[in-house]
Symmetry: C2
Subunit: 226 residues, 2 copies
Protein backbone atom coordinates (compact mmCIF):
# COMPACT_ATOMS: atom_id res chain seq x y z
CA UNK A 1 0.00 0.00 0.00
CA UNK A 2 1.25 3.44 -0.86
CA UNK A 3 1.71 5.83 2.02
CA UNK A 4 -1.88 6.91 2.44
CA UNK A 5 -2.07 10.58 3.15
CA UNK A 6 -5.81 10.25 3.04
CA UNK A 7 -7.27 11.64 6.22
CA UNK A 8 -8.58 8.44 7.73
CA UNK A 9 -12.27 8.60 8.53
CA UNK A 10 -12.72 9.92 12.01
CA UNK A 11 -15.72 9.83 14.22
CA UNK A 12 -17.26 12.99 15.57
CA UNK A 13 -15.73 12.53 19.00
CA UNK A 14 -12.23 12.64 17.53
CA UNK A 15 -13.19 15.61 15.37
CA UNK A 16 -14.56 17.37 18.44
CA UNK A 17 -11.32 16.72 20.33
CA UNK A 18 -9.29 18.24 17.52
CA UNK A 19 -11.56 21.23 17.05
CA UNK A 20 -11.72 21.97 20.76
CA UNK A 21 -7.96 21.72 21.04
CA UNK A 22 -7.67 24.15 18.16
CA UNK A 23 -10.12 26.56 19.77
CA UNK A 24 -8.24 26.37 23.07
CA UNK A 25 -4.77 26.88 21.58
CA UNK A 26 -5.93 29.70 19.33
CA UNK A 27 -7.38 31.47 22.34
CA UNK A 28 -10.93 31.45 21.00
CA UNK A 29 -11.79 29.57 24.15
CA UNK A 30 -9.66 31.57 26.60
CA UNK A 31 -8.23 30.16 29.79
CA UNK A 32 -10.71 30.41 32.59
CA UNK A 33 -13.75 30.71 30.36
CA UNK A 34 -16.80 28.49 30.78
CA UNK A 35 -18.81 26.92 28.01
CA UNK A 36 -22.03 24.95 28.06
CA UNK A 37 -22.05 21.59 26.35
CA UNK A 38 -25.07 22.56 24.26
CA UNK A 39 -23.38 25.75 23.14
CA UNK A 40 -20.23 23.88 22.08
CA UNK A 41 -22.35 21.27 20.31
CA UNK A 42 -23.99 23.95 18.19
CA UNK A 43 -20.62 25.55 17.52
CA UNK A 44 -19.12 22.26 16.34
CA UNK A 45 -22.20 21.25 14.40
CA UNK A 46 -22.91 18.01 16.23
CA UNK A 47 -24.96 16.76 19.14
CA UNK A 48 -23.99 16.90 22.77
CA UNK A 49 -22.88 13.27 22.94
CA UNK A 50 -19.61 13.47 20.99
CA UNK A 51 -18.89 16.91 22.45
CA UNK A 52 -19.31 15.56 25.92
CA UNK A 53 -17.10 12.57 25.19
CA UNK A 54 -14.46 14.88 23.74
CA UNK A 55 -14.66 17.09 26.82
CA UNK A 56 -14.05 14.08 29.06
CA UNK A 57 -11.00 13.13 27.02
CA UNK A 58 -9.62 16.65 27.14
CA UNK A 59 -10.26 16.67 30.86
CA UNK A 60 -8.09 13.56 31.14
CA UNK A 61 -5.44 15.46 29.20
CA UNK A 62 -5.56 18.32 31.66
CA UNK A 63 -6.77 20.99 29.26
CA UNK A 64 -10.19 21.60 30.76
CA UNK A 65 -12.53 20.64 33.53
CA UNK A 66 -16.08 19.32 33.26
CA UNK A 67 -18.32 20.65 36.01
CA UNK A 68 -21.94 19.78 36.59
CA UNK A 69 -24.26 22.59 35.55
CA UNK A 70 -21.36 24.98 34.98
CA UNK A 71 -20.17 23.75 31.64
CA UNK A 72 -16.59 23.01 30.74
CA UNK A 73 -13.99 25.38 32.10
CA UNK A 74 -10.79 25.93 30.15
CA UNK A 75 -8.03 25.45 32.67
CA UNK A 76 -5.65 28.34 33.18
CA UNK A 77 -1.98 27.52 33.63
CA UNK A 78 -0.47 29.01 36.75
CA UNK A 79 3.19 29.64 37.44
CA UNK A 80 3.13 26.62 39.70
CA UNK A 81 1.68 24.53 36.87
CA UNK A 82 4.51 25.67 34.64
CA UNK A 83 7.05 24.63 37.25
CA UNK A 84 5.45 21.22 37.63
CA UNK A 85 5.33 20.67 33.90
CA UNK A 86 8.92 21.77 33.37
CA UNK A 87 10.08 19.37 36.07
CA UNK A 88 8.30 16.46 34.41
CA UNK A 89 9.74 17.42 31.04
CA UNK A 90 13.19 17.76 32.55
CA UNK A 91 13.08 14.32 34.13
CA UNK A 92 11.79 12.53 31.03
CA UNK A 93 13.84 14.37 28.43
CA UNK A 94 17.04 13.98 30.41
CA UNK A 95 16.51 10.26 30.60
CA UNK A 96 15.77 10.22 26.88
CA UNK A 97 19.01 12.07 26.20
CA UNK A 98 20.95 9.54 28.24
CA UNK A 99 19.29 6.63 26.50
CA UNK A 100 19.95 8.14 23.10
CA UNK A 101 23.64 8.41 24.02
CA UNK A 102 23.70 4.78 25.10
CA UNK A 103 21.88 3.57 22.00
CA UNK A 104 24.90 4.09 19.76
CA UNK A 105 22.87 5.90 17.13
CA UNK A 106 24.55 6.65 13.85
CA UNK A 107 24.68 9.96 12.08
CA UNK A 108 21.51 9.42 10.07
CA UNK A 109 19.49 8.62 13.19
CA UNK A 110 20.56 11.95 14.64
CA UNK A 111 19.71 13.90 11.50
CA UNK A 112 16.45 15.12 13.02
CA UNK A 113 18.21 16.67 15.98
CA UNK A 114 20.88 18.09 13.72
CA UNK A 115 18.28 19.69 11.46
CA UNK A 116 16.37 21.15 14.40
CA UNK A 117 19.53 22.76 15.76
CA UNK A 118 20.45 24.14 12.34
CA UNK A 119 16.96 25.62 12.00
CA UNK A 120 17.20 27.16 15.44
CA UNK A 121 20.49 28.79 14.54
CA UNK A 122 19.11 30.13 11.28
CA UNK A 123 16.02 31.47 13.01
CA UNK A 124 18.16 33.06 15.69
CA UNK A 125 20.33 34.81 13.10
CA UNK A 126 17.23 36.17 11.46
CA UNK A 127 15.71 37.10 14.79
CA UNK A 128 12.65 35.04 13.93
CA UNK A 129 11.29 33.92 17.26
CA UNK A 130 8.34 31.98 15.88
CA UNK A 131 10.58 29.80 13.74
CA UNK A 132 13.01 29.38 16.61
CA UNK A 133 10.22 28.19 18.91
CA UNK A 134 9.01 25.72 16.30
CA UNK A 135 12.50 24.27 15.81
CA UNK A 136 13.12 24.20 19.56
CA UNK A 137 9.91 22.28 20.05
CA UNK A 138 11.00 19.92 17.28
CA UNK A 139 14.36 19.30 18.98
CA UNK A 140 12.71 18.32 22.25
CA UNK A 141 10.09 16.16 20.55
CA UNK A 142 12.73 14.42 18.46
CA UNK A 143 14.93 13.78 21.47
CA UNK A 144 12.13 11.94 23.19
CA UNK A 145 11.13 10.17 20.00
CA UNK A 146 14.61 8.66 19.81
CA UNK A 147 13.94 6.87 23.09
CA UNK A 148 11.30 4.82 21.30
CA UNK A 149 9.33 4.87 24.54
CA UNK A 150 5.75 5.45 23.47
CA UNK A 151 4.62 6.41 26.95
CA UNK A 152 7.38 8.94 27.31
CA UNK A 153 6.48 10.40 23.94
CA UNK A 154 2.82 10.66 24.87
CA UNK A 155 3.44 12.25 28.26
CA UNK A 156 5.87 14.79 26.85
CA UNK A 157 3.38 15.71 24.12
CA UNK A 158 0.67 16.19 26.74
CA UNK A 159 2.84 18.39 28.93
CA UNK A 160 4.02 20.41 25.95
CA UNK A 161 0.38 21.03 25.06
CA UNK A 162 -0.35 22.46 28.45
CA UNK A 163 2.41 25.09 28.27
CA UNK A 164 1.87 25.98 24.64
CA UNK A 165 -0.19 29.10 25.32
CA UNK A 166 2.20 30.32 28.00
CA UNK A 167 5.19 29.85 25.72
CA UNK A 168 3.52 31.80 22.95
CA UNK A 169 3.02 34.72 25.29
CA UNK A 170 6.51 34.71 26.78
CA UNK A 171 8.21 34.21 23.42
CA UNK A 172 8.51 37.94 22.87
CA UNK A 173 9.24 38.82 26.48
CA UNK A 174 12.31 36.67 26.92
CA UNK A 175 15.85 37.52 25.82
CA UNK A 176 17.01 35.96 22.59
CA UNK A 177 17.81 32.34 23.39
CA UNK A 178 21.48 32.31 22.49
CA UNK A 179 22.60 30.16 25.40
CA UNK A 180 19.82 27.71 24.66
CA UNK A 181 21.22 26.93 21.24
CA UNK A 182 24.66 26.23 22.65
CA UNK A 183 23.11 23.82 25.13
CA UNK A 184 21.33 21.92 22.39
CA UNK A 185 24.55 21.54 20.47
CA UNK A 186 26.34 20.21 23.54
CA UNK A 187 23.58 17.70 24.18
CA UNK A 188 23.79 16.45 20.62
CA UNK A 189 27.58 16.19 20.83
CA UNK A 190 27.34 14.14 24.02
CA UNK A 191 24.79 11.83 22.40
CA UNK A 192 27.02 11.44 19.35
CA UNK A 193 29.96 10.64 21.59
CA UNK A 194 27.92 8.08 23.51
CA UNK A 195 28.40 9.98 26.75
CA UNK A 196 25.13 9.35 28.54
CA UNK A 197 25.96 11.09 31.77
CA UNK A 198 26.99 14.32 30.08
CA UNK A 199 23.96 14.26 27.81
CA UNK A 200 21.69 13.82 30.83
CA UNK A 201 23.39 16.45 32.95
CA UNK A 202 23.61 19.10 30.27
CA UNK A 203 20.04 18.59 29.25
CA UNK A 204 18.84 18.75 32.83
CA UNK A 205 20.80 21.96 33.40
CA UNK A 206 19.35 23.34 30.16
CA UNK A 207 15.79 22.62 31.19
CA UNK A 208 16.28 23.86 34.73
CA UNK A 209 17.66 27.12 33.39
CA UNK A 210 14.76 27.44 30.96
CA UNK A 211 12.36 26.92 33.83
CA UNK A 212 14.02 29.59 35.98
CA UNK A 213 14.07 32.07 33.14
CA UNK A 214 10.44 31.49 32.35
CA UNK A 215 9.23 31.63 35.94
CA UNK A 216 11.17 34.84 36.59
CA UNK A 217 9.72 36.34 33.43
CA UNK A 218 6.18 35.42 34.36
CA UNK A 219 6.53 36.86 37.83
CA UNK A 220 8.14 40.06 36.58
CA UNK A 221 5.25 40.57 34.23
CA UNK A 222 2.64 39.64 36.81
CA UNK A 223 1.49 36.78 34.60
CA UNK A 224 0.30 34.50 37.37
CA UNK A 225 -2.27 32.85 35.14
CA UNK A 226 -2.16 32.11 31.47
Amino acid sequence: MLPSNQPKPKNNTEIAVEKLRGLIFSGELPAGSNHLETELAVRLGMSRTPVREAALMLEAQGLLEVRARKGVRILPVSVQDMEEIYDVLTALESMAAGQAANAGLDHSALAGLEAAIADMETALDQGNREDWAEADDRFHTELVRLSGNSRMIAIVALMADQVRRARAITLYLRPLPVKSNEDHRQVLDAISAGDAETARDIHKAHRDAAKSTLVALLKQNRLHML
Copy 2:
Protein backbone atom coordinates in the same frame (compact mmCIF):
# COMPACT_ATOMS: atom_id res chain seq x y z
CA MET B 1 -16.90 21.19 59.09
CA LEU B 2 -15.88 17.88 60.55
CA PRO B 3 -13.87 15.62 58.31
CA SER B 4 -16.69 14.11 56.31
CA ASN B 5 -16.06 10.46 55.74
CA GLN B 6 -19.32 10.32 53.89
CA PRO B 7 -18.73 8.82 50.51
CA LYS B 8 -19.38 11.85 48.36
CA PRO B 9 -22.11 11.28 45.81
CA LYS B 10 -20.62 10.02 42.60
CA ASN B 11 -22.16 9.84 39.22
CA ASN B 12 -22.50 6.58 37.39
CA THR B 13 -19.55 7.30 35.11
CA GLU B 14 -17.22 7.54 38.10
CA ILE B 15 -18.75 4.42 39.61
CA ALA B 16 -18.27 2.62 36.31
CA VAL B 17 -14.62 3.68 36.19
CA GLU B 18 -14.02 2.31 39.67
CA LYS B 19 -15.90 -0.93 39.08
CA LEU B 20 -14.18 -1.56 35.76
CA ARG B 21 -10.79 -0.88 37.30
CA GLY B 22 -11.64 -3.36 40.04
CA LEU B 23 -12.72 -5.98 37.52
CA ILE B 24 -9.53 -5.49 35.53
CA PHE B 25 -7.17 -5.66 38.51
CA SER B 26 -8.94 -8.65 39.99
CA GLY B 27 -8.58 -10.48 36.71
CA GLU B 28 -12.31 -10.89 36.19
CA LEU B 29 -11.75 -9.02 32.96
CA PRO B 30 -8.52 -10.70 31.89
CA ALA B 31 -5.90 -9.06 29.72
CA GLY B 32 -6.69 -9.50 26.08
CA SER B 33 -10.37 -10.19 26.60
CA ASN B 34 -13.07 -8.30 24.70
CA HIS B 35 -16.33 -7.04 26.11
CA LEU B 36 -19.32 -5.42 24.47
CA GLU B 37 -20.54 -2.16 25.88
CA THR B 38 -24.06 -3.50 26.30
CA GLU B 39 -22.76 -6.53 28.18
CA LEU B 40 -20.75 -4.36 30.57
CA ALA B 41 -23.72 -2.05 31.03
CA VAL B 42 -25.87 -4.96 32.17
CA ARG B 43 -23.08 -6.18 34.44
CA LEU B 44 -22.72 -2.79 36.10
CA GLY B 45 -26.45 -2.18 36.29
CA MET B 46 -26.55 0.99 34.26
CA SER B 47 -27.08 2.11 30.70
CA ARG B 48 -24.47 2.18 27.98
CA THR B 49 -23.82 5.91 28.25
CA PRO B 50 -21.89 6.00 31.55
CA VAL B 51 -20.18 2.72 30.70
CA ARG B 52 -19.03 4.12 27.41
CA GLU B 53 -17.78 7.29 29.04
CA ALA B 54 -15.91 5.25 31.65
CA ALA B 55 -14.37 3.13 28.90
CA LEU B 56 -13.09 6.25 27.15
CA MET B 57 -11.53 7.47 30.38
CA LEU B 58 -9.87 4.13 31.03
CA GLU B 59 -8.64 4.15 27.46
CA ALA B 60 -6.96 7.50 28.17
CA GLN B 61 -5.37 5.83 31.18
CA GLY B 62 -3.98 3.05 29.04
CA LEU B 63 -5.88 0.19 30.65
CA LEU B 64 -8.07 -0.73 27.72
CA GLU B 65 -8.88 0.04 24.14
CA VAL B 66 -12.24 0.97 22.65
CA ARG B 67 -12.70 -0.49 19.18
CA ALA B 68 -15.66 0.03 16.92
CA ARG B 69 -17.85 -3.04 16.77
CA LYS B 70 -15.35 -5.15 18.70
CA GLY B 71 -16.08 -3.96 22.18
CA VAL B 72 -13.50 -2.85 24.70
CA ARG B 73 -10.32 -4.87 24.83
CA ILE B 74 -8.43 -5.13 28.10
CA LEU B 75 -4.86 -4.28 27.17
CA PRO B 76 -2.23 -6.87 27.93
CA VAL B 77 1.10 -5.64 29.23
CA SER B 78 4.06 -6.87 27.22
CA VAL B 79 7.67 -7.06 28.34
CA GLN B 80 8.33 -4.00 26.23
CA ASP B 81 5.50 -2.18 27.98
CA MET B 82 7.05 -3.05 31.32
CA GLU B 83 10.39 -1.66 30.18
CA GLU B 84 8.79 1.56 29.00
CA ILE B 85 6.87 1.99 32.21
CA TYR B 86 9.87 1.29 34.41
CA ASP B 87 11.89 3.88 32.51
CA VAL B 88 9.22 6.52 33.04
CA LEU B 89 9.00 5.64 36.72
CA THR B 90 12.77 5.73 37.03
CA ALA B 91 13.04 9.17 35.48
CA LEU B 92 10.26 10.71 37.56
CA GLU B 93 11.03 9.06 40.88
CA SER B 94 14.73 9.85 40.61
CA MET B 95 13.93 13.49 40.09
CA ALA B 96 11.53 13.34 43.03
CA ALA B 97 14.25 11.84 45.21
CA GLY B 98 16.62 14.64 44.24
CA GLN B 99 14.02 17.29 44.92
CA ALA B 100 13.19 15.77 48.28
CA ALA B 101 16.86 15.95 49.20
CA ASN B 102 17.01 19.60 48.17
CA ALA B 103 13.83 20.50 50.00
CA GLY B 104 15.46 20.28 53.43
CA LEU B 105 12.66 18.16 54.82
CA ASP B 106 12.67 17.52 58.54
CA HIS B 107 12.34 14.19 60.26
CA SER B 108 8.56 14.29 60.51
CA ALA B 109 8.17 14.95 56.80
CA LEU B 110 10.17 11.81 56.11
CA ALA B 111 8.17 9.69 58.55
CA GLY B 112 6.18 8.15 55.71
CA LEU B 113 9.28 6.89 53.94
CA GLU B 114 10.72 5.72 57.25
CA ALA B 115 7.57 3.77 58.06
CA ALA B 116 7.45 2.19 54.61
CA ILE B 117 11.03 0.99 54.94
CA ALA B 118 10.38 -0.38 58.42
CA ASP B 119 7.33 -2.24 57.12
CA MET B 120 9.34 -3.64 54.23
CA GLU B 121 11.98 -4.93 56.62
CA THR B 122 9.40 -6.51 58.89
CA ALA B 123 7.64 -8.13 55.94
CA LEU B 124 10.96 -9.40 54.63
CA ASP B 125 11.86 -10.96 57.99
CA GLN B 126 8.51 -12.72 58.00
CA GLY B 127 8.84 -13.72 54.38
CA ASN B 128 5.52 -12.03 53.67
CA ARG B 129 5.76 -10.98 50.05
CA GLU B 130 2.31 -9.41 49.84
CA ASP B 131 3.03 -7.07 52.71
CA TRP B 132 6.46 -6.30 51.31
CA ALA B 133 4.96 -5.36 47.94
CA GLU B 134 2.40 -3.12 49.61
CA ALA B 135 5.06 -1.30 51.63
CA ASP B 136 7.36 -1.05 48.61
CA ASP B 137 4.55 0.52 46.64
CA ARG B 138 3.94 2.90 49.52
CA PHE B 139 7.62 3.93 49.58
CA HIS B 140 7.59 4.83 45.90
CA THR B 141 4.26 6.62 46.11
CA GLU B 142 5.39 8.59 49.15
CA LEU B 143 8.67 9.55 47.50
CA VAL B 144 6.80 11.11 44.62
CA ARG B 145 4.22 12.67 46.92
CA LEU B 146 7.01 14.56 48.67
CA SER B 147 7.77 16.35 45.40
CA GLY B 148 4.38 18.04 45.68
CA ASN B 149 4.20 17.86 41.90
CA SER B 150 0.61 16.85 41.19
CA ARG B 151 1.38 15.88 37.61
CA MET B 152 4.24 13.68 38.65
CA ILE B 153 2.03 12.04 41.26
CA ALA B 154 -0.70 11.40 38.72
CA ILE B 155 1.61 9.97 36.07
CA VAL B 156 3.35 7.68 38.51
CA ALA B 157 0.00 6.42 39.80
CA LEU B 158 -1.09 5.72 36.23
CA MET B 159 2.08 3.82 35.37
CA ALA B 160 1.92 1.87 38.61
CA ASP B 161 -1.62 0.83 37.70
CA GLN B 162 -0.48 -0.60 34.42
CA VAL B 163 2.15 -2.89 35.95
CA ARG B 164 0.06 -3.92 38.93
CA ARG B 165 -1.08 -7.22 37.43
CA ALA B 166 2.41 -8.08 36.22
CA ARG B 167 3.92 -7.36 39.61
CA ALA B 168 1.37 -9.56 41.33
CA ILE B 169 2.37 -12.45 39.10
CA THR B 170 6.12 -12.01 39.43
CA LEU B 171 5.99 -11.41 43.17
CA TYR B 172 6.42 -15.10 43.91
CA LEU B 173 8.85 -15.78 41.08
CA ARG B 174 11.50 -13.30 42.09
CA PRO B 175 14.17 -13.77 44.72
CA LEU B 176 13.51 -12.20 48.09
CA PRO B 177 14.19 -8.48 47.67
CA VAL B 178 16.98 -8.08 50.18
CA LYS B 179 19.08 -5.73 48.09
CA SER B 180 16.02 -3.65 47.38
CA ASN B 181 15.55 -2.81 51.04
CA GLU B 182 19.15 -1.68 51.38
CA ASP B 183 18.67 0.61 48.40
CA HIS B 184 15.61 2.22 49.93
CA ARG B 185 17.48 2.91 53.11
CA GLN B 186 20.34 4.52 51.22
CA VAL B 187 17.94 6.74 49.28
CA LEU B 188 16.31 7.89 52.50
CA ASP B 189 19.70 8.58 54.08
CA ALA B 190 20.75 10.68 51.09
CA ILE B 191 17.50 12.64 51.26
CA SER B 192 17.97 13.20 54.98
CA ALA B 193 21.52 14.40 54.36
CA GLY B 194 20.32 16.76 51.65
CA ASP B 195 22.49 15.01 49.07
CA ALA B 196 20.38 15.32 45.93
CA GLU B 197 22.82 13.78 43.52
CA THR B 198 23.32 10.64 45.59
CA ALA B 199 19.58 10.30 46.16
CA ARG B 200 18.97 10.56 42.43
CA ASP B 201 21.75 8.20 41.43
CA ILE B 202 20.98 5.51 43.96
CA HIS B 203 17.31 5.58 43.17
CA LYS B 204 17.97 5.39 39.45
CA ALA B 205 20.31 2.43 39.96
CA HIS B 206 17.67 0.81 42.17
CA ARG B 207 14.96 1.16 39.58
CA ASP B 208 17.19 0.09 36.72
CA ALA B 209 18.15 -3.04 38.64
CA ALA B 210 14.50 -3.76 39.42
CA LYS B 211 13.67 -3.44 35.75
CA SER B 212 16.45 -5.82 34.70
CA THR B 213 15.43 -8.38 37.29
CA LEU B 214 11.82 -8.21 36.28
CA VAL B 215 12.46 -8.39 32.55
CA ALA B 216 14.82 -11.34 32.96
CA LEU B 217 12.25 -13.08 35.12
CA LEU B 218 9.48 -12.54 32.61
CA LYS B 219 11.58 -13.83 29.75
CA GLN B 220 12.77 -16.86 31.69
CA ASN B 221 9.20 -17.76 32.42
CA ARG B 222 8.04 -17.06 28.90
CA LEU B 223 5.64 -14.42 30.22
CA HIS B 224 5.64 -12.21 27.17
CA MET B 225 2.16 -10.92 27.88
CA LEU B 226 0.44 -10.28 31.16
